[in-house]
């Protein structure tokens, strides 16, 4: 499982990348540049409408308008690296009434390897099952996806990326609407994957959790506002610039989780974590 091969080649190098929906809305994210290191946990944070999800989709060619600039995956084009890259969409973008079991969805990750016209055989089903075990869903493998909890559904989507044996996982708001236990569990899974050499790039709302568990935070507000270890890139002045309001008090709550958050009334950018969530993330991080 340990993926040290090609560790010299960055899983993702983004240079002067601009993307958007085309037309009048034009460019949402301008001139973004960053390089990811193998086996790291990277978060994209920023205010609503700042272009976090748009950037992720732009990198993956999921926007109607063609982006400008370059995004190289494992030193080459996305087309050349598709087998090593997996996208985990927002849970809300999936129709969970789709007739499929958790195992069916995980097995979808193996379709590329099997190839067109070929069935995903027993070996593939076993690999899908192992992926479900990794995200602690083996006991609900045969349950309908619509019957799973929100946190379980999110982990099924991660299992599908794992079954595909992806080395770079791009996750769009994987912690949205998950309760603290589900968040902690998913976070632990992602940290485990990063330790095994896989690279994580996740859009995240919860600044406290990013602070506690991620190696790096890229702050996006129409452009890259800050980039670096969370302790530096999530400083009060940077957040104030990105979110357009003074979050100095919010930044204080990040380091002292017992303080009551004073930003919960702002609609644009309140760090949504509760203290107990921050504690949960912290304790998960401490287990490393």
């Amino acid at each position: 499982m340990n993926r040290t091969r090609d560790s010299a080649v960055s899983p993702l190098v983004v240079e002067h990348f601009s993307c958007g929906y085309g037309g009048d809305a034009a460019v949402v994210v301008r001139d973004a540049s960053f390089t990811l290191a193998s086996g790291t946990m990277n978060a994209i944070v920023g205010p609503n409408g700042g272009g976090k999800s748009t950037l992720l989709k732009g990198l993956l060619g999921l926007l109607p308008a063609t982006p400008t600039g370059s995004a190289r995956f494992f030193g080459g084009s996305l087309d050349a690296a598709r087998a090593r890259v997996a996208f985990v969409p927002q849970r809300a973008e999936i129709d969970w009434n789709f007739p499929a079991s958790a195992l069916d969805v995980a097995a979808m990750g193996l379709a590329r390897k099997a190839g067109v016209f070929r069935r995903i055989g027993r070996g593939g089903r076993d690999a899908a099952m192992r992926a479900l075990e990794t995200v602690a869903l083996a006991d609900v493998a045969h349950a309908q996806i619509g019957a799973l909890s929100g946190g379980q559904q999110q982990r099924v989507l991660v299992a599908r990326a794992l079954a595909a044996d992806a080395e770079l996982l791009l996750l769009d708001e994987p912690f949205a609407n998950a309760d603290s236990a589900a968040s902690a569990r998913l976070l632990a899974t992602l940290q485990q994957l990063a330790r095994n050499g896989r690279t994580i790039l996740a859009v995240h709302h919860d600044l406290a959790a990013v602070h506690a568990a991620f190696d790096r935070a890229i702050v996006i507000a129409g452009r890259v506002v800050a980039d670096g270890p969370p302790s530096a890139s999530l400083s009060g002045s940077v957040l104030a610039a990105a979110y357009g309001i003074d979050l100095t008090t919010a930044a204080t709550t990040l380091t002292t989780p017992t303080t009551t958050s004073t930003t919960s009334t702002t609609s644009t950018a309140s760090p949504r974590s509760t203290d107990s969530q921050a504690q949960a993330h912290r304790s998960t991080a401490a287990q490393q």
Binding site: Y21, G22, G23, N48, G49, K52, S53, T54, K57, L60, G61, L62, P64, L78, D79, R82, A83, V85, A86, F87, P89, Q90, R91, A92, E93, I94, D95, W96, N97, F98, P99, A100, S101, V105, M108, G109, A111, R112, A114, V116, F117, R118, R119, I120, D139, V140, H142, A143, Q144, G146, A147, L148, S149, G150, Q153, L157, R160, A164, D172, N177
Partner: protein, 329 residues
């Protein structure tokens, strides 16, 4: 040759083949929440029918079928262009394109003198299932005298099954999550294009035989009848066909025997009756499912077991989950 062999059997055969062709591919449309596409294609073929006649000067099945297929594909491609260019949802684009195509068809019909040919409106709506009969000929067997539309429908059904069987995995992945499917490259674009072409062919072939009302019913209803009970895509497709087939046959004979069954003054239109029976079966299926799942103590999954915790269904129905075109924040 008796009336059953010459009239009823060919008609039931045509309806069955239309069910297999449209119902199989209709499952994909319903899974992708694109059932409206069937309506769009069925309407968009009108200018193709007229153009087929104008170009060839005949009303031969091949001229009609070729023109209709071209128009159906053109409508789909144009809807894609409109979706991309205007950032409207796919169903809005289909709505725009199919009304435009239907209007174009009427315009062609009225201005190009094609109205002398009988493109009968009621025939467009209800088709002519009852007139797919085998003319009694002493020098030929029953089999060889089957009308062209039966063979067209048989080809459409075979293509529908082949498309679904051979690219099943790709179609399922794309229907479930288009974004993942695109990023992984697991589901090549041509598999989806092939499905759309097969769907157009199925709708065009069925349209000619059974009319637009039954086409739309045959595409949407079988999948909707099976959906509440389905635990897998494969299961949904098989169930949809197995449950709909007896409904179609019963409805056909109910229409033929309307004088006796409903005390109607004469036999009723078979296509309309089949459409009505299929449509009625959809809410019945949902009711049955609700009653059955209540009997099981609300455990709709059946074999889920008790170990899964209390929060199993809490997030099952997310109202946002159907809006794939929503622009993310």
């Amino acid at each position: 040759m008796n009336a059953f062999l010459s009239i009823d059997l060919p008609a039931v055969l045509a309806a069955t083949l239309a069910l297999v062709a449209c119902g199989t591919l209709g499952n994909w449309l319903v899974l992708r929440k694109e059932a409206l596409a069937a309506d769009a294609i069925a309407h968009a073929v009108l200018p193709g029918l007229v153009a087929g006649y104008l170009v060839t000067g005949t009303r031969s099945p091949w001229a009609m079928l070729g023109g209709a297929a071209c128009a159906g594909l053109a409508a789909i491609l144009l809807a894609r262009v409109v979706t991309r260019a205007t950032k409207t949802g796919a169903s809005t684009a289909l709505g725009i394109v199919f009304t435009a195509f239907f209007a174009l068809g009427v315009l062609l019909l009225e201005t190009q003198g094609a109205r002398q040919v009988d493109l009968d409106p009621s025939c467009v709506l209800f088709g002519s299932l009852e007139t797919i009969f085998v003319a009694s000929r002493a020098d030929a067997s029953w089999f060889t005298t089957l009308p062209t539309s039966i063979w067209t429908l048989a080809a459409a059904a075979a293509i529908a099954i082949a498309t679904t069987v051979f690219t099943f995995k790709e179609l399922a992945i794309r229907a479930f999550d288009p974004a993942f499917s695109k990023v992984s490259g697991a589901s090549p674009r041509w598999t989806d294009d092939l499905r759309l072409i097969a769907t157009t062919f199925a709708i065009v072939a069925a349209f000619e035989a059974v009319g637009s009302v039954l086409v739309i019913a045959l595409v949407a209803c079988p999948a909707l009848i099976a959906a509440p009970f389905a635990r897998s895509v494969r299961g949904q497709i098989v169930t949809s066909l197995l449950v709909s087939l007896p409904i179609v046959i019963v409805a056909y004979f109910a229409a033929a025997q309307a004088e006796r069954v409903f005390h109607a003054p004469h036999a009723l239109n078979a296509s309309g009756m089949i459409a009505a029976f299929l449509a009625a079966a959809v809410p019945i299926a949902h009711l049955v499912h609700r009653v059955v799942s209540r009997d099981n103590g609300g455990n709709m999954g059946g074999n889920m077991g008790g170990s899964m915790g209390r929060n199993m269904r809490e997030n099952a129905r997310d109202p946002k989950s159907h809006d794939l075109n929503r622009r993310p924040a």
